[in-house]
């Protein structure tokens, strides 16, 4: 079983991100359980979305306290709150931020990948919604998903221009992390 926790603000598309992750894992023949937790239930309020995925149907209904992977859509959330709480010792975090972002201290085997997902989104989608670029980065950083699987998920959720833009965002997010790994 793998557990993914997404940190975002209401309105930033975290539920769609969780849904796309779920769809991609479902494409692989796995059983995801993707679900949100609303805080104040108001636009801009901190919220979480979660994906728990297994080879058999997921029964556990609690929120995720010890994630394998973290996706931090809005790094301003890290100012007053420990988004890294409970991250597994070998866990991986993907943060949507500029390259000069000051990284938090982490454990020896934990990894952080920073991707300027909003910049990628501005170029590919025309709006600062970095979710799909983050998913591309997630695939590259964790090795959990193929880009082609994510694209299949995108095709199920978006059509037309939105589909094209989001597919490009996934590719660029993936390439950004790949490039980092090579250098």
């Amino acid at each position: 079983m793998k557990e993914i926790r997404i940190h975002a603000r209401a309105g930033q598309g975290a539920i769609t991100t969780a849904a796309l992750l779920g769809l991609a894992y479902f494409e692989k023949g796995m059983y995801p359980y993707a679900f949100p937790n609303f805080g104040a239930a108001r636009m801009g309020a901190p919220m979480n979305a979660f994906v728990r995925v297994d080879v058999q149907p997921v029964r556990l209904r609690s929120q995720i306290y010890e994630p394998d992977y973290l996706i931090i859509v809005d790094p301003t959330l890290m100012r007053g709150f420990n988004c890294f709480s409970g991250l597994k010792d070998n866990g991986i975090a993907i943060i949507n931020a500029k390259e000069d972002f000051e990284l938090p201290k982490i454990k020896a085997k934990q990894k952080i990948f920073v991707v300027p997902a909003n910049d990628i989104a501005m170029k590919t989608i025309g709006r600062p919604l970095g979710n799909t670029a983050m998913l591309g980065a997630y695939a590259a950083a964790t090795g959990e998903l193929e880009v082609s699987t994510l694209i299949e998920a995108i095709k199920k959720r978006f059509s037309g221009k939105a589909q094209e833009g989001n597919i490009e965002a996934i590719k660029q997010g993936y390439a950004f992390i790949q490039g980092k790994n090579l250098s």
């Binding site: 539920i15 969780a18 849904a19 779920g22 769809l23 479902f26 059983y31 995801p32 359980y33 993707a34 679900f35 949100p36 937790n37 609303f38 239930a41 149907p57 997921v58 029964r59 556990l60 209904r61 609690s62 929120q63 306290y65």
Partner: protein, 395 residues
């Protein structure tokens, strides 16, 4: 076909396969996505139903009451305050023997305002005469909708059915569900042929004034039908199994109870978390099991008795309260053993997950730990004592 769907959308699909002629609802979180999707289906022409927009839940319930009285299959759904606002009509629907099906996306009751999940809403209307099912996951939620119509509309039943599913946890949770085909549903659920209906050509009166000469008998008849349902529900659920390949008991589900020394009783999605904990604890040699109550009305007392009579310790998990008394499920489980020769030594009661307080594996382990020689009533798990300090300032 297996699909990854949000619970609400899965329910909308299941309901649409049942082909209701009238749908009416008023939006309330966390139920809203269900009827939004149904409204879209009607607009797109995929569901040939009249979708009636209303100004309140009281009206939504009244519209489906009217539709059902007119001889049409109807559907509505709601949550929390919406269900309470419907209450007067809910009693009428059952009293008039109308086979309405309603989805309750379970949510806490105000005040304080809370949009998150517990089961206080549907528990509060348990006495209205409706059949109540509580589902553990979205597959069960899908499957119990055609089952609900089939039971409700049987001429020997003619009672409304409420399918209760935990708000957000299930309604907003995406998981893999097998949506039955239209052929499967058509085979299982014949079109609705009412016994009586409101028809200007052949006028009748429904739900008239009944004086003391016959009111008792009308209520007695509902009570008798409810009792008969304890035999009929497993039969219908069995037929659904033949069509769908998914087999349920319909009243209770026993999970690793056969050799269990401790059994937890619960309803709804928390049963999934409990099963996870049971598997973990059994690896350590602890003999624990779960009795899931699927059908809460009618209450399957005899079935529960048979399942639990030889078990030393029972924990009843309530996700609602009867403020000032024993919790609803606990009170009923406790009383079914009264006067019986065989009964558990300990029946303790634990309150969990009110107003969306997360139920973790540790919450369930705490229940197991506290299920010891000391009997407990209304033991609140995960209570925060620091929030209970009272501070008054005299002006």
């Amino acid at each position: 076909m297996k699909e990854l769907l949000e619970g609400s959308l899965a329910i909308a699909k299941a309901v649409s396969l049942c082909k209701p002629g009238v749908v009416s609802a008023y939006p309330i979180t966390p139920q809203t996505h269900i009827v939004e999707e149904l409204a879209q289906m009607v607009v797109d022409g995929h569901l040939k139903a009249e979708f009636v927009n209303v100004e309140s839940e009281h009206s939504a319930a009244s519209v489906v009451l009217g539709g059902s009285a007119g001889g049409v299959r109807v559907y509505t759904s709601t949550s929390s305050q919406g269900l309470l606002y419907m209450t007067e009509v809910l009693y009428n629907i059952a009293g008039m023997r109308l086979p309405v099906v309603l989805t309750c996306a379970n949510r806490a009751i105000s005040a304080p305002i809370n949009i998150w999940n517990d089961q206080q809403d549907s528990i509060s209307v348990r006495d209205a005469g409706w059949v109540q099912f509580y589902v553990e996951n979205n597959q069960e939620a899908v499957d119990f909708h055609p089952i609900a119509y089939r039971i409700a509309e049987d001429k020997a039943v003619m009672l409304p059915v409420m399918v209760c599913m935990d708000g957000f946890i299930l309604t907003h949770g995406m998981e893999v569900v097998d949506i039955p085909s239209q052929e499967q549903i058509d085979k299982f659920l014949p079109s609705y042929k009412p016994l009586y209906k409101l028809d200007p050509q052949k006028p009748i009166t429904m739900g008239p004034l009944v004086d003391p000469d016959s009111y008792t008998e009308a209520r007695y008849a509902i009570h008798e039908t409810q009792k008969e349902l304890l035999k009929f529900i497993p039969q219908v659920v069995g037929e659904f199994g033949k069509v769908s390949g998914r087999h349920y008991n319909g009243l209770i589900e026993e999970y690793k109870t056969k050799d269990a020394e401790k059994i937890i009783i619960a309803m709804g999605s928390v049963c999934g978390t409990i099963k996870e904990v049971i598997d973990e604890l059994r690896k350590k040699g602890k003999k624990i099991g779960l009795l899931k109550i699927v059908c809460y009305r009618p209450f399957p007392a005899q079935e529960i008795y048979e399942a639990l009579k030889n078990v030393p310790k029972i924990a009843v998990v309530d996700r609602s309260l009867s403020l000032g008394s024993y919790s609803p499920l606990y009170a009923e489980v406790r009383s079914l053993f009264f006067g019986k020769k065989k009964q558990p030594k300990i029946i303790s009661n634990f309150i969990l997950g009110l107003g969306g307080r997360d139920i973790t594996k540790d919450s369930i382990k705490e229940v197991v730990r506290l299920l010891n020689a000391k009997e407990r009533t209304c033991e609140f798990i995960d209570l925060k004592p620091e929030l209970l300090k009272e501070e008054y300032k005299d002006e």
